[in-house]
Each structure stands twice: as C-alpha cells, then as structure tokens.
C-alpha cells in the first residue's frame, strides 16, 4: 500500500516526502490531477487524498492529505512545524491552539481540509524577521511563565487571541478567557502576569 501509485505516477512514499518538504507554492500531485482531469471523472472516494491549499506563517502551502488529517497533524507531520503541540487530541487542553484567519482555534478538532484558503499562524510564525520575539513570547520569558513548557506554544497563541479579542482587561478576565489552556505545572500566576505585560505593551504599540 505504501508504494501504491497515485494519479501522477509518484509513489505514495515519494509524495509524502514532497509533502513534508512542503515547498512553497509548488503545485503538488492532487492539484495537477484536478487540473488535468475533467470534473466528470469518478467522484472522490473516502480513501483518496484531497488537495488543500493554505497559507501557514505567511507562506503558501499546497498539500495532499487524507480527509481525516487534523490541522494539527498536517502542521506537525506534513509541514514539519512541530511547535504546535498535541496534548489530549480531544479539545480539552488547548496545547494545539493556533490562529486561523487571526482567531484562536483548536487545531486538533479542525480537519485540515476544512481550512482550504485560510491563513494559519503557529508559534513559529511569531518572531519578527529580525529575530525579535513577539511581545507575548518575550513576556513569557520575562515572567518565567512555564515550567516544562509543553503547553507554552498553545498558551502563547491563545494569549494573542485573548488580547486581540479584547478579553484581557482584568486579571479575572484573563483567567476566564484563558481557561481553555491547561498547565499541569500550574504556572498560572506567571502566565497571567505575562499576559498583563504583553497586553500593555501591545496597547502602547
């Protein structure tokens, strides 16, 4: 099965390699397939790969994915962006939080294919071109807002969403609107302090 041929003659394994390298804007197998074949071809089956185009951290990606692939697995296993973490994989912990079109969502509960044409931002996309950390990243460093660090990328992405939504007004608001991000090390006081600092800095900017 792993060497089964797919439409353009690439083997599945070769294709996966191409997919992992995820060369920006390179048309990959499925998009060329859809261009070459008339739409009257037999309808897609449940095991066929589907073409998905999205922008991830401002770079265009064309992927061919099993329909079951979550946005989280697409980012980690197909694009190679492992900053986004898999915690529970059931929408209960917040570790997989990313921004889709600027809004924080759980990438584990989102099928990648449903993000066609969307703009995804992960923790890898926050640092500026000159290497300066995002104000929320810097605040997490300044306030030691983590211990093991596994929940941190999700906390940071969620904090950016929370601040942008205008829900970081008071410390109580921050605790309420950040409640979807669990930290088993319980670094919560430091996380709240970091978000207060970042909120003020973003407001000043």
């Amino acid at each position: 099965m792993s060497e089964a041929k797919i439409a353009s003659g690439l083997s599945r394994r070769m294709f996966m390699t191409a997919s992992v390298s995820a060369v920006a804007a390179m048309p990959l197998v499925n998009s060329s397939k859809s261009a070459d074949q008339p739409t009257s071809a037999k309808p897609a089956g449940p095991r066929d790969l589907s073409a998905v185009s999205m922008r991830i951290n401002k770079q265009p990606y064309n992927l061919a994915l099993d329909n079951r692939t979550s946005l989280l697995d697409a980012l980690r296993d197909h694009v190679g962006l492992t900053g986004t973490k898999k915690g529970c994989d059931h929408g209960q912990c917040g570790a997989c939080t990313v921004l889709v079109d600027g809004k924080r969502v759980l990438s584990c509960l989102s099928f990648a294919i449903m993000n066609q044409g969307r703009e995804i931002t992960t923790v890898e996309g926050l640092v500026s071109t000159d290497g300066e950390l995002h104000p929320v990243q810097q605040a997490f460093v300044d306030h030691d807002a983590f211990q093991c660090g596994y929940c941190t990328p999700g906390q940071i992405m969620s904090a950016i969403g929370c601040i942008n939504e205008g829900h970081a007004g008071s410390e109580d608001d921050i605790r309420e609107y950040m409640s979807g991000n669990l930290c088993r090390c319980a670094a919560y006081p430091n996380i709240v302090a970091a978000i207060v600092q970042a909120r003020d800095e973003i407001r000043r900017a």
């Binding site: 924080r104 759980l106 409640s179």
Partner: protein, 340 residues
C-alpha cells in the same frame, strides 16, 4: 477514524440535496452515514472516539447565504444565523444589552478557542458527554440501541435527575439551549421536504425507550436560523452556572432565568435548568408558582422545590437536587435585583 468523503456545497439547498441523495434514509440523523459539519468541535471528537462513524461529511462553512452568518436585532426578536459562532453572539453588544441571558449562556460555555469554532446551530445539537456514551467499549442504549446502560449502576455523578428513563440517564450539557428554551425561541429548518419553523422546546426528545433518537430532525434537515422573541422579561435575565471548577467545565447545575416584574411582584417568570436533565429543561410548573407572587427567598425556594419535585437520583448524583434548587434560588433572587 473511519475514512470519509468530504463535500463542499455552496448553498443550503445543495447541502440538503447531498444529504438526501447520499443517505439511505436511516433514522435517526445522528446515526446517518452522512453528517453536516460546521465548527466540528463535537463531531470531530466523536469521530475520533469512534462514537460517530460517518462516511460522508458535508462542510457547511462553504455555504454562501449571508443570513447564515448574521445576527439581526429586530424590534421584537433577535435572529441568529446558524453559522454564527458562539463567540460572535456572546460578544455582540446588542445581544448583551437586550438579553443578557443569551450572551451569558454562551460566554460561560466551553473555552475561547471552542467558542470561536462552534456554530450556534451545531451547539444546540451537541451530544451528551456521558462517559459511557463516549467510550465505545461500554453498553449504551443511546449509542447502540438495546445494549443496556452502563451509567445506571456506574459512576453517574454527572448524570441527569430530570427527564430520565429506564433506558438512559445521560445529561444534556449545553448552556445556550437553556436560554433558548426559557425564552421561547424557535428554529428554522430546511430539508428535502421544504422549510419549517419549530419551537425550540420541540427540537430535543426525551430519551424514553429510544434514547438514540435525540431530536425531531430528519437526516436531510439543517437548522438555518434561531429566533428569540424579545419580550418584557428579556433584559432582566441571567444565566447562573455551577461547576466543579470556576471555568471551562460543564454545568453540574445551572439556571436560566428571565423575569417580568410589576414592582416586587412577578408578572411572568421564565426558567430553564441545565446540567440536571436529559434534554434542555423548561421548569414550567415552577414558573407558574411565581406568577403574581412577591419574589422573596421563600417564594424562590417554593418554586425550586416544585422544579425538582419529579427528580429521580441515582447513586452518585443525588447532590444535584439540593444543588440545583440552590442554584435556581440564587438565580431568581439575583435576576430580581437586576434593573429591568
């Protein structure tokens, strides 16, 4: 997860067409081979757990009808398109002002991320979190009719005490639905047979002998809008939710209350109870006891006793009866003290 075909219709009618032609007419819709998906927060989770095994998903996010994404504030009603996200409705200033209960029931549900994803139409159709329903190795009459109910003699601390049957005691965990049933909302539905409007109170079905049949919907039917009438009680309304932790948890008990007051007396009361029943639960008998009364603590307690008069506890959830009563008493008194 079972492999599935993915469809991207652009109109409600084409979505309904796909659901009509793809399916074999199985009832109920929760067991149909074709499922609509919007936010996916409930369905994707249940597909991963093997509880839901559709072979075809119809993505509703590609539908182009603008009304599906709009909140319309009219003189006598608030109208929500079914694809409005929970966070959009919760943060809408007009909704908050005109009917705090609606906004609060959304704001205290789920998390910021989930509220950004979940649609209002999908939210009201969310399925129970009963642990024995979620884990497919257990018998469950809702998931597998006739297999039995592991919750009856199991760990049933979170289960329902109202609206239960010998077949199922799974709680309905949603919050927004409690606001909708209290406020007398209606839902617009579109299906192969055409359009219809249904009282929200008739959308969900009590488990009875068929807990696998959860709603009045057919497999090809889609909720397109939710309409909430604005009435004298809308602005004096609130949602009180009691949980094991302060935030991001399902209700152990909750109360949706809206009051129309004539001075200290109740002209009309609207009450729904969450976390304690198998379906969204309007406490009509409790509402009736308050009509014309001065709303003091004694009157609120009497109403709460009536609301839970038929409650049937199991081994671990008997605490929900006194907790539910106290939750309702507090919600009634706090709502009374709001400015109307």
């Amino acid at each position: 997860m079972r492999p599935f075909v993915y469809e991207r219709p652009t109109s409600v009618s084409s979505a309904v067409d796909i659901a009509t032609h793809a399916d074999t007419g199985q009832s109920p819709p929760t067991a149909a081979n074709t499922q609509f998906i919007a936010g996916g927060t409930n369905l994707a989770d249940y597909m991963r757990l093997g509880v839901a095994q559709p072979e075809r998903l119809i993505d509703l996010n590609t539908l182009v009808e603008p009304a599906l994404r709009q909140i319309r504030i009219e003189d006598d009603a608030i109208r929500f398109g079914a694809l409005v996200r929970m966070s959009e409705a919760a943060d809408n200033g007009d909704v908050r002002r005109r009917c705090p209960l609606l906004a609060e029931s959304l704001q205290f549900a789920a998390s910021g991320q989930l509220r950004n994803m979940a649609s209002l139409g999908g939210n009201v159709l969310q399925r129970t979190r009963c642990e024995y329903f979620r884990e497919t190795s257990w018998p469950c009459n809702k998931r597998e009719p006739g297999s039995g109910c592991a919750a009856m003699e199991g760990f049933n601390r979170q289960h329902a005490v109202l609206g239960t049957s010998d077949a199922c005691i799974a709680a309905y965990h949603g919050d927004f639905a409690q606001a909708l049933i209290a406020l007398g909302a209606t839902v617009d539905i579109e299906g192969q047979q055409g359009r219809r409007t249904l009282a929200f109170a008739k959308l969900h079905r009590r488990p009875g002998e068929t807990p696998n049949i959860e709603t009045d919907l057919a497999a090809d039917e889609l909720i397109t809008a939710i309409e909430v009438p604005l009435a004298p009680w809308s602005s004096r309304s609130r949602y009180l939710k009691i949980r094991d932790r302060e935030s991001y948890a399902f209700a152990l008990a909750s109360a949706a209350v809206a009051l129309d007051m004539d001075g200290e007396r109740v002209r009309s009361a609207r009450i729904a109870l969450g976390g304690v029943a198998t379906v969204p639960w309007r406490a009509s008998a409790a509402e009736d006891t308050l009509k014309g009364k001065v709303l003091d603590e004694a009157a609120a307690r009497a109403a709460a006793d009536v609301a839970f008069a038929d409650a049937k506890p199991r081994e671990h959830n008997a605490f929900k009866i006194p907790l539910g009563k106290r939750t309702l008493v507090r919600a009634l008194l706090e709502t009374r003290d709001m400015k109307g």
